[in-house]
Symmetry: C2
Subunit: 160 residues, 2 copies
DNA sequence: TACTGATGATCAGTATACTGATTAATTATC
DNA sequence: GATAATTAATCAGTATACTGATCATCAGTA
């Protein structure tokens, strides 16, 4: 009899489910109203000011139709600004606002704590090994999802 | 600089994203219209005929409000039957239909293939280790989500 | 029987994720 | 410079997941 616990797909869903729950608990406990997805988008825009939505989506592996709603909500909260690009009138350039930057910095400890809680059942060695294996499996399957991770073209950045 | 790849929460989301994509590709390729969530529910009802929705939700770790819609769609496809329980008129007893059973058996090879594809980037040892670590992390975090996994009370079943 | 609390199911509302289509603008080609 | 192909963004629609509320029923108690 095939148990759910023998199916990596089930474990994937369950692990992600817990990850979201832990994130929400920590971030709300710290007094913020940010989802994991919104946090990742906000952080990516902070690191890459002026980025367009497609590139942002590739950076954090979101679907292009998902990013529209995420940016909508971040803009509505006053954490992001979306303005038309001057170089390409189809594109929107994203900038983090001052409030967005403050929020990002203030919420970061809670996000860190959530990451630790998610793997708190494992030893340090196990945590590192889990992450290595996830990274390896994800790398092999990257192109299989509609929202693969895309490297940003590293012109002018040296932190590779 | 904290990379996304150092955050287990990000890896969790990404791994689950790929799991769903691979599942859809395989199952649709085999000519079926079933989501991962619907497949798990169908399989659980097949193994536990007459189960109520809350117990089903606990078995596969779905939220109680999610299971309503999932069962709706499975019933609409003619794969499940939902009838009022005689013992408890609040509850719905779920039964798999003949077509549901046929579908379940016919789709299983595609589901198996999807599970293998999801971890195809890893060696056999790594696959087993990844699953062990996921199970361990999930067990430690089980109660943190609104939809924890619940053991079924094993009266009359010996496959524990 | 009336009351209280708990439980199974559902509903309204919100936020990811996706499919597939559309719109507007850019790039490539002739 | 007109045309075709591509691209950035959005939209409509569907399916998870969740929060919080409600309704009906059940169990326990006075």
């Amino acid at each position: 009899m095939k148990d759910n616990n023998d199916m990596p797909g089930h474990l994937a869903r369950r692990f992600q489910q817990i990850a979201v729950a832990v994130f929400h608990a920590e971030v709300e406990g710290a007094g913020f109203d940010l989802t994991p997805v919104q946090y990742a988008a906000l952080a990516a825009v902070s690191t890459n000011p002026g980025i367009d939505q497609i590139t942002l989506a590739g950076l954090i592996a979101y679907d292009r139709t998902t990013i529209t709603g995420v940016v909508d909500r971040l803009a509505q909260k006053g954490l992001l600004e979306r303005r038309a690009s001057s170089r390409d009138r189809r594109a929107r350039e994203l900038q983090i606002t001052e409030e967005g930057q403050k929020t990002l910095e203030a919420v970061s400890p809670a996000v860190e704590t959530a990451q630790e809680l998610l793997v708190r059942g494992l030893t340090g060695d196990e945590q590192r090994e889990l992450m290595r294996l996830l990274r390896k499996a994800i790398a092999a399957g990257n192109e299989l999802s509609r929202a693969p991770l895309r490297e940003i073209s590293t012109e002018g950045s040296r932190n590779g």
